[in-house]
């Protein structure tokens, strides 16, 4: 450890595990999702249809990572309010302190680190708002995805019982009119295709989110010189001790 620097823990091992599960799930979800939306490679093996099962495997992979995503989302939602480490919701409440910090971090970014009037040792309000946006986007993907899934279970049966499709209908049927509202049309009646369009478009928003997220974390690492990129791997970063004392 460099002299004069202090180690601060920022992500617990549970948070890091969730982070990397989400990372891999997202890559698989996007790769398979794009195939499901419009199959972008052809099957070349000269075998009967029953042996290939390419679309089926893509759908299998897509649903599997989706369900993993769903479960981590529940865990994240729980930690958001009840984490014993750091409760993120406290950083998005529109209090004077949070609003001030949010803009201080934004100013830091657009002035290319000319101004840095906040404590960078803990998770700041700007980044927490940004993560919250991500989880809201993810939540919409979760609900629209489950609606598209239960659409195919029109018999009302599933391998784990009839309660599961029934529950999915109760939990996700609102996404049909909601998606219709988002997509818009001259026709009043909502259709399941609206949900599909929303599910597809919001994938792009999430990709855009990821691009900025990676860029911003790297930028912080380079400009702040506090080893921010290590948070996702080792769980901690380093801040100057004198700075820490200031705040």
């Amino acid at each position: 450890m460099k002299k004069g620097y202090k180690k601060v823990e920022r992500m617990t091992s549970a948070m890091r595990i969730i982070h990397w599960i989400n990372f891999f799930s997202m890559i698989v979800a996007i790769a398979t999702g794009l195939y499901i939306a419009a199959p972008y490679y052809q099957t070349l093996i000269a075998e009967p249809a029953v042996d290939k099962y390419v679309m089926a495997w893509n759908r299998w992979g897509h649903f599997m990572v989706a369900i993993i995503f769903d479960v981590t989302s529940i865990v994240v939602a729980y930690l958001y309010f009840f984490s014993r480490f750091e409760k993120p919701y406290k950083k998005v409440l529109p209090t004077a302190k949070n609003i001030k910090e949010f803009f201080a971090v934004l100013v830091n970014l657009i002035t290319l680190n000319r101004s840095k009037k906040f404590d960078s040792s803990h998770s700041d309000s700007f980044n927490t708002v940004y993560f919250t946006i991500f989880h809201l986007l993810l939540l919409l993907m979760l609900f629209t995805g489950l609606q598209l899934y239960v659409e195919g279970l029109e018999s009302g049966l599933s391998s784990i019982g009839t309660w599961w499709p029934s529950m999915l209908h109760i939990a996700t049927d609102w996404t049909i009119p909601f998606s219709h509202f988002l997509v818009g049309s001259s026709v009043q009646d909502a259709t399941i295709m609206d949900v599909r369009i929303v599910h597809h478009r919001f994938m792009w928003l999430i990709i855009v989110w990821v691009v900025f997220h990676i860029y911003y974390q790297v930028w912080r690492t380079i400009f702040w010189q506090e080893g921010d990129i290590a948070i996702a791997f080792g769980g901690s970063k380093y801040v100057k001790e004198d700075k820490k004392a200031e705040n």
């Binding site: 390419v54 609102w174 026709v187 009043q188 009646d189 295709m193 792009w204 691009v211």
Partner: protein, 412 residues
């Protein structure tokens, strides 16, 4: 306005599922059987309203055997999701079809649903039955015109007040006070015409995609502000039988259900009978195995097309469309769109022309913007946004590199 908002929020959270209950239990069907028996006995006492054609004779004249008729009866029983014990009742109900008066009106449409009933290589049992229903008024088929036709409609409404089934074909143009569509010697607008005839109907059956969801006239930019019947008429029982054209089997199914039980069949959230629209085309498609295998037709007439591969990449919307085409097919089971190798265009779903019928997968579609005119692909939109974000990041990164790091060089 505030009330409208509350209503729209309510509707956001109360969408009903299309779940199909195929078995409602022994007791339910016993009660239903007794109820149907009573209803049919009562109907028998009624003298046929205006035509005396007997189904037995009609069928023989058209060269359909009694055996074919009974086969049709058992198939229809299954389609209506009733137990096999109901078959004799269904056959009996078919012979009593001329006891229910039907008024058929056409609005903004191409008469395709009427054509679907009338034109086929040979009359099917469904079509014969639609011939013998007591059709009191049908603009396209009737001989009368002008004031005579108006008179006939008025007579029908008066005579069968509250008893007739109203079939509506075509959308309702709401723009410029309905002046896009007028009819008759008095120049009545379609809106007024629909309201007048709907007022005394026992129930309204909207047939075809135009009458149900606005269909092609309502496609972007929807110049006439076309709407489906259910978005125009309030406080009436409405059944939607969408598809372009609606399948005659499903029309007969609904009438037969009404004759048999005195009630309309169970409906889903879009008011479509569940017996017909509770199934996804994809799940009963003969090409489903090719879908799962990833074997797709890439181009019309390629090797895949010759081998009956899946039409998903040619834009088939079977996976998103609820209808029984893949089960009952068209023209008494002769064929259907996927069977002839051209894919489904989702014609029985709302807004199908803009959101389903573009003949490529959704991700590659040029979905029209709601404002109309401008074509935008979802992927282009996403890629555009991504490019914008990339450019922004690039500028920021370049600026960062040029500006250099402000702080504390040489300290550490």
């Amino acid at each position: 306005m505030a009330g409208d908002k509350i209503e729209s929020v309510k509707s956001l959270f109360t969408a009903k599922s299309a779940k199909v209950e195929t078995n409602k239990g022994e007791e339910y069907y016993q009660n239903l059987y007794a109820q149907c028996r009573e209803r049919l006995d009562n109907l028998k006492k009624i003298v046929p309203v205006s035509n005396n054609i007997k189904i037995k004779e009609a069928i023989e004249e058209e060269g359909v055997s009694r055996r074919d008729f009974l086969k049709w009866a058992s198939a229809t029983t299954a389609m209506l999701m009733l137990p096999a014990s109901f078959t004799p009742l269904v056959a009996e109900a078919a012979t009593l079809m001329n006891r229910v008066p039907v008024v058929w009106i056409e609005l903004q449409d191409c008469a395709g649903n009427s054509e679907a009933l009338l034109r086929s290589d040979g009359p099917t049992v469904d079509e014969i039955i639609l011939d013998i229903i007591s059709l009191e008024f049908h603009e396209t088929l009737m001989a009368a015109a002008g004031h005579q036709a108006e008179k006939q409609l008025e007579d029908a409404i008066e005579t069968f007040k509250g008893k007739y089934l109203l079939f509506v074909e075509g959308s309702v143009p709401m723009g410029i006070n309905g002046q896009y569509g007028t009819l008759g010697a008095k120049g009545e607008t379609f809106i007024d015409h629909l309201h007048r005839v709907a007022k005394d109907a026992a129930a309204i059956i909207a047939v075809g995609s135009c009458a149900t969801f606005g269909g092609i006239p309502a496609a972007a930019p929807n110049p006439t502000d076309a709407k489906g019947v259910m978005d125009v008429v309030n406080g009436k029982t409405i059944v939607n039988i969408p598809a372009c054209p609606a399948n005659p089997s499903n029309m007969v199914g609904v009438i037969l259900h009404y004759v048999l039980t005195g009630q309309l069949p169970e409906l889903d959230s879009l008011l479509r009978p569940k017996f017909a629209f509770g199934y996804r085309i994809h799940d009963n498609c003969e090409r489903r195995a090719h879908f799962d295998a990833g074997e797709y037709v890439e181009e019309w007439g390629d090797e895949g097309a010759k081998n009956n591969f899946c039409l998903y990449k040619m834009g088939c919307k079977g996976p998103m469309t609820f209808n029984n085409c893949s089960i009952v097919r068209y023209n008494e089971g002769v064929n259907w769109p996927v069977g002839v190798g051209r894919g489904c265009i989702g014609c029985s779903e709302p807004d199908f022309w803009d959101k389903y019928a573009y003949e490529r997968p959704m991700a590659n579609a040029n979905i029209k913007a709601p404002t109309g005119g401008v074509e935008k692909s979802v992927d282009e939109f996403g890629l555009g946004l991504l490019t914008a974000a990339g450019i922004g990041i690039g500028i920021h990164a370049a600026a960062s590199a040029i500006a250099g790091k402000k702080d504390n060089q040489g300290e550490a």
